[in-house]
């Protein structure tokens, strides 16, 4: 069966080699660093076997407990996280900016606790925010030179809601420029390393957010997902990631890449943490006309109440394994991990069958056309006129040309050019319109599969984390061969379907982590989180 999960953060401080030695930790959660000046809350007695004392699965809940029980102050917690960042950041480089008001905000929180005021659900929770999500008092660059030094005059709705719930924003995390990439090497500023193996990439584009949670630099983090940008880095960094249904979380304040696909997602070291963060940021927003007015259920109540110590806690749940995501192009180790996960789900009482999505191979080209077309339009506003870097010129066209030529990186330029081409007169019907039709087809086939199954599973990525520097060759190769499997294909597909996903860590301690992707019907995040939670908790015992 699956091996014990490995927490990379402990090892990181001691070992900077490629593989982390197997240690006896049997939980998934944040473990305090021995070197942190103030120890982080101890969520549980780590050595206790789960059968007698189940590990509380949430760092957020244990922080809340330590604050309310006055075991630790928010300032102590803040200092320990900042110390952790100081120690790890030179190796990981997840952050583009670290907030200078963390201690001040922690002090305010401590005063609130002293006055016995009511605390929000994220009180004292240190949150990393991807740098393409706007923050009023910090720079927000989107990982691009064109916005170097830009400070927005407003908070994104998701950030505002995190703050209203008591969360403390630690800093802005690194990303591929404007979210365009899957390694975080496309950042204009720095390359982020994978905490499991600093010679490898953390995935992307939300690589900074995934790495920061993985390395214990923050409790949870916000990322964004257009074509797998939350799920793939979660897989690479061995953390939980969720890409909610399109319309569940407001995009207001998220720098648009492909508006009809963009979604803000969450990272955490446990399913419950991820669910608590998602709950805080979900719901209709007057500032985003594409948000849903559906009620937001309490995602995590189902998790905590679920009794996963029954022999078959998921009895009767219909699980479909997507056949096309386990084809020849997929890494053998990944395939076997997924089959093991399927076997584990069967042990939990699920009926696992194989499903086929015939339109699968159309997903990548359709995704590319839609995403690139929309991005060519969305990035038009970076013209050097109102904000960001302007390259002065005598003539208007040169001002535009120079500002954009010097401001954008090559991947962004490539995508703008391709998108502009696809939307040009005479090509619109052949490309954009056709891609929309394909999207409808794929949505239909997903709906069929989800009518017959409660959830679908697939790998989150066809491989484990690549070495830094390797991926551009890979991407170029993909473009030439048009081979959907070489890309993070399953993440793309789910995206076009607009449903929700949970990414789960399945760590092989002797290698890089492998992610299991769980796909559910639109707005069914609660079910996914429940399944994910039971899967995560029961995995401990094996």
């Amino acid at each position: 069966m699956l091996s014990t999960l490995q927490n990379p953060r402990l090892s990181l401080l001691h070992h900077h080699h490629h593989r982390f030695p197997l240690k006896g930790h049997r939980h998934l959660h944040i473990t305090p660093s021995a070197r942190a000046s103030h120890p982080l809350p101890q969520p549980t007695a780590t050595q206790s076997p789960p059968s007698t004392s189940p590990p509380p699965s949430s760092t957020i809940l244990s922080i809340r407990h330590s604050l309310l029980s006055r075991r630790q102050t928010a300032v102590q917690l803040a200092e320990s996280y900042l110390a952790r960042i100081q120690q790890t950041e030179p190796h990981i480089r997840s952050f583009l900016h670290i907030s200078n008001s963390v201690i001040k905000e922690a002090e305010e929180l401590d005063r609130k606790i002293e006055r016995n005021e009511e605390l929000g659900p994220l009180a004292g929770v240190f949150v990393g925010v991807k740098d393409n999500i706007c923050t009023a008092n910090m720079p927000s660059t989107g990982g691009s030179k064109v916005l170097e030094g830009y400070r927005p005059p407003f908070d994104a709705t998701a950030v505002r809601r995190v703050k209203e719930c008591g969360g403390i924003i630690v800093g802005k995390t690194n990303l591929d420029e404007f979210g365009m990439g899957s390694t975080t090497e496309g950042s204009a500023f720095q390359v982020t390393a994978n905490p499991w193996d600093v010679s490898r990439v953390p995935g992307g584009s939300s690589g900074g957010s995934a790495a920061a949670v993985s390395a214990g630099q923050c409790v949870v983090s916000l990322g964004s997902d257009t074509g797998g940008s939350v799920r793939q880095p979660a897989s690479f960094c061995g953390v939980v990631g969720i890409k909610p249904t399109y319309g569940r979380v407001s995009r207001y304040g998220l720098m648009a890449y492909a508006s009809s696909l963009d979604a803000i997602g969450c990272f955490g070291s446990s399913v419950v943490d991820t669910g608590i963060l998602l709950h805080a940021i979900s719901g209709h927003d007057q500032l985003d006309a594409t948000t849903s007015k559906r009620e937001v259920p309490d995602f995590t109540s189902q998790c905590t109440s679920a009794s996963f110590f029954e022999s078959k806690p998921l009895k009767g749940l219909r699980v479909g394994v997507i056949r096309e995501t386990l084809d020849d192009g997929v890494d053998g180790a990944i395939k076997s991990s997924i089959y093991e996960a399927a076997a584990h789900l069967e042990e939990l009482g699920c009926n696992v069958t194989e499903v086929s999505l015939p339109s699968f191979s159309l997903g990548l080209p359709a995704y590319y056309i839609l995403a690139l077309s929309e991005s060519s339009s969305n990035l038009s506003r970076y013209d050097g006129i109102r904000y960001g870097n302007q390259i002065g010129a005598d003539e208007l066209n040169s001002l535009y040309g120079d500002s954009r030529a010097k401001g954008f990186g090559s991947e962004v330029k490539l995508r703008i050019l391709m998108g502009t081409y696809a939307l040009s007169a005479g090509y619109y019907d052949a490309y954009y319109k056709r891609a929309q039709q394909v999207r409808t087809l794929i949505q239909r086939s997903f709906k069929d599969a989800l009518d017959k199954n409660d959830i679908l599973i697939s790998p989150a990525a066809p491989s484990t984390a690549y070495s830094i520097g390797m991926t551009y060759c890979l991407l170029l190769l993909v473009r030439r061969k048009n081979d959907p499997l070489a890309m993070s294909m399953s993440t793309l597909l789910g995206c076009l379907h607009w449903c929700c996903h949970v990414e789960l860590l399945k760590g092989d301690p002797m290698a890089s982590p492998v992610g299991l992707q769980i796909i559910g019907a639109a707005f069914d995040e609660a079910k996914l989180l429940k399944v994910g939670h039971i899967f995560e908790q029961t995995l401990q015992g094996h």
Partner: protein, 517 residues
């Protein structure tokens, strides 16, 4: 919503101001030809067009004998909603630059548009008033081009599915221009957002951007190319202005740019089917300048045709220069510009219910044109009746109090004529009865069996009878003496005792007379 947007701004007013106006030491280096900021200096506020100079009219008359002008107009109407189209900023003409802006209308990263539902309501009002079909399912699209006054690099507009299309507007030409009624087709009405303004101050080496106007809702009303002269175009514009003011959707002020007309003019020799090359004219700040600019342009193009230089008429945008009273080249169009339209992904589709549209339809005020037309009818009826009554009083040396006609019955009489129950001729007969003997209109109509005959079959049988009784006249008519139609009509009317509906009578009679023998 408002508070969030403002909070962001109020806490950073300097930041925004700086970034817009004084960035990089206060200059935005670019050279841009000014078009939007030119304003006519000696325009009166009158909406009625002035008579164009006599000399120009003369030349025009001469040339127009051989040439026909084809004119279409695109009108941009700024809607006077309380806030902008996609954010909660207000818009007040003449405010200090960049004082009515927010992240949305400045196109800041991450900002998203949210539609102001008043824009839809106003668009439907205007669409219905222009007799258009309203699209129950429409959408917004992005029209993409780069310009410093366009913050997002695209304009939110409507492309292939406008909210309203296929309508018309009725216009009466002023008597001094020959009078007459015209109906001009409306191709489409669509919603979009306005752009900001460039200010060209200082020494000309830089321009400044004012985004107060960016995001203000506009309706673009596109006419069919149905106009043939400057005065027709000017009257069309004036009618649109009256209409939007009546509906209360815009102040229609041309000097402030709340109503802007761009006209397209082409000329072709009469008889030629193919349209000539289309030229666009901008900077028209009054209806009078529309009139004069078009007439100038027609003369210019026709003169080029006359001299065999029609290849010198090129597709271009020309600017009306008020001072010189002429149009000059602003920019030549090199091929069709590609705006790369695609559906706006940030906004849901616009879905209207039939009840919503009906509700707006029922709430529309009476339109200016309808009001005028109805007024004219009533006036007409009143005129002859009052004339006849006055004559009767004079002849009989009576005062108005001494006759037996009551005001109520007079109103009833007019209504009966207008409603078509009786003809005008019979109306006069009844009038004298009412004056002399009193009684009610309804009673008299019934007693005398005066109800107008509107049954085509009944009229047809009378026509047949008259034709068969006059074979000689029929032969003469068919031999070319068509004036005999009047004789036949008189005979049929006599046959009907004056009760046949004259319109129907003439229609049926003509059919019968012209039927092949």
């Amino acid at each position: 919503m408002t508070s969030i947007l403002y909070r962001g701004l109020q806490t950073h007013p300097l930041l925004l101001y700086k970034s817009v106006l004084f960035r990089n030491n206060g200059v935005m280096y670019c050279t841009i030809r000014s078009s939007q900021t030119q304003t006519a200096t000696y325009e009166s506020n009158k909406t009625q067009p002035k008579i164009s100079p006599k000399t120009q009219a003369k030349t025009l008359d001469k040339i127009l004998k051989d040439y026909e002008a084809i004119i279409g107009i695109e009108t941009h109407v700024q809607l006077n909603t309380l806030s902008k189209a996609f954010c909660s900023c207000p818009y007040n003409y003449g405010s200090q630059p960049n004082t009515s802006v927010c992240p949305v209308c400045m196109g800041l990263p991450g900002a998203l548009p949210v539609l102001n539902s008043k824009v839809i309501e106003y668009a439907v009002k205007v669409g219905l008033a222009l007799n258009c079909r309203i699209a129950l399912n429409s959408k917004f699209d992005r029209k993409q081009y780069f310009y410093p006054d366009l913050p997002k690099g695209y304009q939110i507009s409507q492309f292939d599915i406008p909210i309203a299309s296929g309508g018309h507007i009725d216009v009466d030409l002023p008597v001094e221009f020959g009078g007459g009624h015209r109906r001009f087709g409306i191709t489409r009405v669509h919603m979009e957002e306005d752009a900001g303004k460039l200010l060209h101050l200082g020494n000309g080496s830089y321009s400044q951007v004012d985004l107060n106007r960016a995001g203000v809702p506009l309706l673009e009303i596109v006419s069919e190319p149905d106009m043939r002269s400057g005065i027709e175009a000017a009257e069309y514009g004036a009618e649109i202005q009256r209409l939007v003011r009546y509906l209360g959707v815009s102040n229609g002020n041309m000097q402030e740019g709340s109503l802007r007309c761009d006209v397209n003019v082409s000329v072709r020799p009469i008889g030629q089917e193919k349209f000539g090359t289309k030229v666009e004219i901008k900077n028209l700040n009054s209806f009078s300048s529309i009139n004069r600019a078009i007439d100038f342009e027609i003369t210019r193009q026709a003169a080029l045709y006359n001299e065999g230089k029609d290849d010198e008429i090129v597709q271009e945008t020309r600017l009306w220069e008020e001072g010189a009273q002429k149009t000059v080249t602003m920019r030549k169009k090199e091929g069709l510009s590609d705006y790369r339209y695609f559906p706006e992904p940030d906004l849901p589709e616009v879905v209207l219910s039939g009840e919503y549209v009906d509700g707006i339809h029922d709430s529309l005020p009476e339109l200016p044109e309808m009001k005028r037309r109805r007024g004219a009818e009533v006036k007409l009826a009143a005129n002859w009746i009052m004339g006849d009554i006055a004559a009767y009083l004079k002849n009989e040396k009576l005062s108005i109090d001494e006759i037996k006609l009551t005001p109520e019955e007079l109103a009833e009489l007019i209504a009966s004529i207008k409603g078509g129950t009786i003809s005008g001729k019979i109306g006069k007969e009844i009038l004298f009865e009412l004056i002399a003997k009193g009684g009610t209109v309804k009673g008299l109509i019934k007693a005398k069996d005066l109800v107008q005959i509107v049954d085509p079959a009944e009229i047809e049988s009378m026509v047949d009878k008259v034709i068969s009784e006059n074979p000689k006249q029929l032969e003469q008519y068919r031999g070319g003496k068509t004036r005999l139609q009047g004789y036949f009509a008189g005979q049929v009317m006599k046959e009907s005792k004056g009760k046949a509906n004259p319109g129907l009578l003439n229609k049926i009679l003509l059919e019968k007379l012209n039927a092949s023998s």
